[in-house]
């Protein structure tokens, strides 16, 4: 590891820079962690189960779907398949972020992929796009607070679940869409941004209406990515980069 003082203090400031960027994610995901814990207990999970699922799966939407099906006594293999389907979009994140973190030691990469959530990917991609290196200290600073709060708040939700007041008036059901919209707009300078957003919007809404959730995520995402692949390279600006 780094032994000289300069790179160590550099890593430390990188870490805290990541922590600062994690704060909106911690705020936006908190209600969902508590809600997950409460719903989990409501659907027959113990507090320990809720804690374990948040600590090991660490994917909000898939956890919600998982406990929902568990409460309906759906076959275990079908629950696992549903979790896989909801999380399938991470395959695309993984392919994208791999280019940015390939220089890390293998253990750090393995840990990095474990905490590869929607905001983790989006914020790391934005950093790479701005020409900065995605270092392990920065990436961990961004991801660790979100993980720690997510796990603790899930357990708290499981213990105190029944105490949540009117969630609608507090707007917690709509905080994540707001946050994700902000992330989408943050990528607006990329080549093909508008066509990709239009294609993904149309495809995901059509799929949502026909095939249903959670497949609309994968279908909408693939539509946008395919459009970028199909359009002639001079539109996508890939060749133009050094």
């Amino acid at each position: 590891m780094a032994t000289d003082a300069i790179s160590e203090s550099g890593a430390r400031s990188d870490f805290w820079q990541g922590v600062r960027l994690s704060m909106p994610v911690v705020v936006a995901s908190a209600p969902f962690a508590v809600l997950f814990g409460a719903l989990a207990v409501d659907n027959g999970f113990s507090v320990l189960d809720a804690f374990l699922m948040s600590a090991l799966v660490y994917g909000g939407a898939s956890q919600m779907v998982g406990i929902q099906l568990f409460g309906q006594h759906v076959a275990p293999w079908l629950i696992v398949l549903s979790i896989f389907a909801v999380n399938f979009r991470h395959v695309l994140y993984s392919a994208g972020i791999g280019r940015r973190i390939a220089h890390w030691p293998i253990i750090e990469q393995a840990l990095g992929y474990f905490i590869l959530t929607d905001p983790q990917f989006a914020v790391a991609e934005a950093r790479a796009q701005s020409g900065q290196t995605v270092g392990f200290a920065w990436y961990l600073g961004l991801g660790l607070p979100v993980y720690v709060f997510w796990v603790i708040e899930s357990a708290l939700g499981a213990v105190f679940g029944k105490l949540i007041p009117d969630t609608h008036a507090l707007g917690i059901d709509f905080l994540l869409p707001i946050y994700f919209l902000g992330l989408v707009l943050g990528f607006r300078k990329r080549p093909l941004w508008l066509p990709v957003v239009i294609a993904s919007t149309a495809a995901s809404i059509i799929a949502y209406k026909t095939v249903g959730s959670p497949w609309h995520v994968s279908i909408g995402a693939i539509a946008g990515v395919l459009l970028a692949v199909i359009l002639p390279p001079h539109h996508s600006g890939v060749k133009a980069r050094p």
């Binding site: 960027l21 027959g44 189960d49 374990l52 699922m53 799966v57 898939s62 275990p76 696992v80 979790i83 896989f84 979009r89 991470h90 395959v91 994140y93 993984s94 392919a95 791999g98 280019r99 390939a102 393995a110 992929y113 474990f114 929607d118 989006a122 609608h168 507090l170 707007g171 709509f174 994540l176 869409p177 707001i178 946050y179 919209l181 902000g182 992330l183 989408v184 707009l185 943050g186 990528f187 990329r190 093909l192 990709v196 957003v197 919007t201 495809a203 995901s204 809404i205 959730s213 995520v217 909408g220 995402a221 990515v225 459009l227 970028a228 692949v229 359009l231 390279p233 996508s236 890939v238």
Partner: protein
């Protein structure tokens, strides 16, 4: 160990496979074709859009107000500013229109 425990373990493994799988596939190729790279560059906008778009179908005045303010603030401000502005408008608007 209980069934619940094994569901959680299997769900965790399935999730980790999705998080590492794309990288394992892509890293087998020495050269990334420009079209594949263009596709990878489209991933953030494409996936994150699908997490917002269906919400528009059920959005009322309060939700639309929040999204518009979020969009306007995001043109100038940082991530935290746009998030807080959107959330504030949403909570405020819901007190009036429900």
């Amino acid at each position: 160990m209980s069934t619940t425990f094994w569901i959680i373990i299997a769900g965790a493994i399935a999730t980790y496979l999705t998080r590492i799988g794309g990288h394992l596939v892509i890293s087998r190729f020495d050269n990334i074709h420009p079209r594949v790279e263009a596709g990878l560059n489209a991933v953030p906008a494409a996936v994150l859009t699908t997490l917002v778009a269906p919400e528009l179908l059920n959005a009322g005045p309060a939700e639309w107000a929040a999204l518009v303010v979020t969009a306007v603030v995001s043109l100038r401000g940082g991530l935290m500013a746009m998030f807080l502005a959107g959330a504030a408008v949403l909570i405020l608007a819901r007190q009036f229109v429900g």
